[in-house]
Symmetry: C2
Subunit: 213 residues, 2 copies
């Protein structure tokens, strides 16, 4: 489990010049995951990172700052992954919705520790910091919304309630972070593909095919 | 929010003879929801319930006991709701899967505070208590599994990977507890019906209809 947490931090912060900062992020994420934000003490994080409590404050001004850094990087990582996948997908809007689901799901399985902490501890962030994180989240959701609306307009998607369907598509990916374990039977990208196939069933029959029948 | 929490406790423990016990469950759930299990102190729960810390121990031997009571009642409540709905549904296995999703989703929206605390804090329970809760959870999931297998056998359900589909159907309901707010635009049972309609898209085309085309 600790190795997973370290791998997730390394994936989110690929160019970390300072090893002590890295150790603190790993120890912080690990502690948030196990005992939650409110159960985490700066002292325990320092100890797990092999530093003095005072040394923590050289890198993070507070426990909140540590959580915020992880939450912001996590949300940006997810947004970047989805955006890159959509940029590379020139197919129909319907297909791009499936690409969103595949990428979003794969990301949540690959970054389950980060994603879980973000989901469970968002309310611990003060308003201004939470607002910044929520903006990134809204941008991600906005990409899905835009593709869905485009798909409804061009007839490739046919759903009763776009908001509910969008919510469900996001839930599939988000909830992966709760139950997914790397030790399980399925790799993150396989799960992403499976969920994209499921998502196809939520988008209704394309108008063209319906007209043909 | 406090009123929702009280309503959820009252729904889970309909015949509570002792009002102090009720106040402690409400205060405990509220605190778990806001600062998490590890951030909750028995002292704070006692204060919120208008009792002395010593009085807490008359009713619950520990903070763990309080969480356990809520977690067990929550899981049993969800299981009972689903079982009752399935008992009343004499239609096809496919329809019964949709009934499961509708009931499970509605329950998670109606009991969002309990469900969220259960999902987020399960790991705080010691092994023996967690095992008992997990047994109830497995029973619920077993009802869905059985209906899905029956539907696959009778041809009313056609899916590529029953395990992944079952996981996705459960995720839709579970994740409701994360985002659902009573103040939002949709009532619990409306959401349940919408999600059942979505779930229909995840179960493939019935064999009969496929043969006819």
């Amino acid at each position: 489990m600790n190795r997973d947490v370290a791998a997730e931090i390394d994936a989110l912060f690929p160019q970390m010049p300072d090893n002590r900062r890295r150790e603190l992020l790993i120890a912080g994420l690990r502690s948030f995951q196990v005992v939650g934000f409110h159960g985490t003490s700066t002292r325990a994080v320092a100890k797990a990172a092999g530093l003095s409590p005072a040394a923590v404050y050289v890198h993070f001004e507070s426990k909140v700052a540590l959580l915020y850094e992880i939450a912001l990087a996590g949300h940006r990582g997810s947004l970047d992954a989805v955006r890159a996948a959509l940029d590379a997908d020139r197919a129909s809007s319907r297909h791009r919705v499936l690409t969103f689901v595949e990428t979003f799901t794969t990301w949540h399985a690959s970054h389950a520790a980060v994603a879980r902490v973000i989901q469970y501890e968002m309310s611990a962030l003060p308003d201004d910091k939470r607002s910044r994180v929520v903006r990134v989240r809204r941008a991600t959701e906005g990409l899905l919304r835009a593709e869905m609306l485009a798909g409804i307009k061009d007839g490739s998607i046919s759903v009763d309630d776009p908001d509910t369907t969008r919510r469900a598509l996001l839930s599939l990916g988000v909830d992966v972070a709760r139950w997914y374990r790397r030790s399980g039977r399925i790799a993150p990208d396989d799960l992403g593909r499976q969920y994209a196939a499921l998502a196809d069933g939520l988008l209704g029959r394309p108008a063209a095919r319906r007209n043909a029948s």
